[in-house]
Symmetry: C3
Subunit: 154 residues, 3 copies
């Protein structure tokens, strides 16, 4: 595999990055539907008009909590905090002319870690597994960020 250092699908490295970026973004997007799918049977909605529509009893407090819905939402927020930085910094990282094999390995580790992280989080698998898996994805982001800072500081 080779990189011509441009943002284009003719650049094999960019093409691989686009693939993994889209995979993790798709996973992030699916969290929205996953939240909704659990809100409906559990009758926990974000707005009063939702209670009206589903003919559900509105809670007395302003906001209702359901442990499983909140778990999915935290997992979604964790994606926002990790997947979006990955895609942003990855765009810059691809342009720093990294070793192609190292770069693709990083993208794979990140994508794998995020998919595992979701499975572990949603199923409430005990710690320290979630923390360890999260760290793998986080480490990839931090590494790429430092490479970009170095590349941009000349």
């Amino acid at each position: 595999m080779a990189s011509n250092g441009s943002l284009s699908f003719e650049n094999e490295l960019f093409s691989k990055f686009a693939f993994y970026a889209a995979i993790v973004l798709l996973k992030t997007l699916v969290m929205s539907v996953w939240t909704a799918r659990h809100r409906i049977p559990r009758r926990v909605f974000p707005a009063p008009e939702d209670y009206t529509f589903f003919n559900a009893k509105s809670p007395t407090a302003t906001i209702a909590f359901d442990a499983q819905v909140e778990r999915i939402r935290r997992c979604h927020l964790n994606d926002i905090e990790n997947v979006i930085p990955f895609i942003l910094i990855g765009l810059f990282y691809v342009l720093t002319g990294p070793d192609v094999n190292t770069a693709v390995l990083l993208f794979r580790v990140f994508a794998g870690a995020r998919i595992l992280h979701t499975l572990v989080y949603l199923n409430g698998i005990g710690q320290p597994f979630r923390a360890i898996i999260w760290s793998a994805g986080y480490g990839v982001c931090i590494f790429m960020t430092i490479v970009v800072i170095k590349a941009g500081s000349y």
Copy 2:
């Protein structure tokens, strides 16, 4: 209209994408000010030092809720979860060499859906309108993501 497949304003497709991306991002940014504008008359602030500054009585609980402020914040978070993925995946999508008319139509549907979604959400217009409008924007993101995954998987 034509596309030369590059990330540059000389590429008409990129230029259109930049326009709609900036419009929806501006809408997202405005949510911050909109939240603040409702916090002040309703005396509901995020930090204790804000209560001191506005000479307002601090709530006994750590966090105070106000239905309208929370509504705007949820709408803002919904933007973060949808508008940012749209801009990220759109950058890749523009490079996949899509049919230009289809692509511009998708950008318009997304921008229109997000503006309508905000109006419907902030005014508490009954369901299923919010869900239908949200789906239009979501569908655009999912479609573009799948096109990028395909383009990157060769």
Copy 3:
């Protein structure tokens, strides 16, 4: 300093943008670890399995709050709402062919404002300092967004 209008590290303007974008993204990423670092001694965790692992008493309510942890999380969310839009719009802004000195000044103001904002927020320094500093970063984003809308509307 000069700009050749491309997204490449050979473009001095892009290189500067990459540098400041990576700095503010690094700061945003660090917030995750900062939250965890405060969760552990305060025994306030996001999921029941975390309580089990740390041998901590689970709260009776579904969600536990701790003023300092919530402060760091709000600061993190504020970064998500501001730093990510800055990087996204900056990518387009660099391509509009801005005056290079103005552009670099904007990147520096944004980066400085976000670092100061974090220090002021985490230490609970009284208002209106946090609002003023936040406005500086916000103003940079709004200005760049308007330049991009103009560039894309031809």
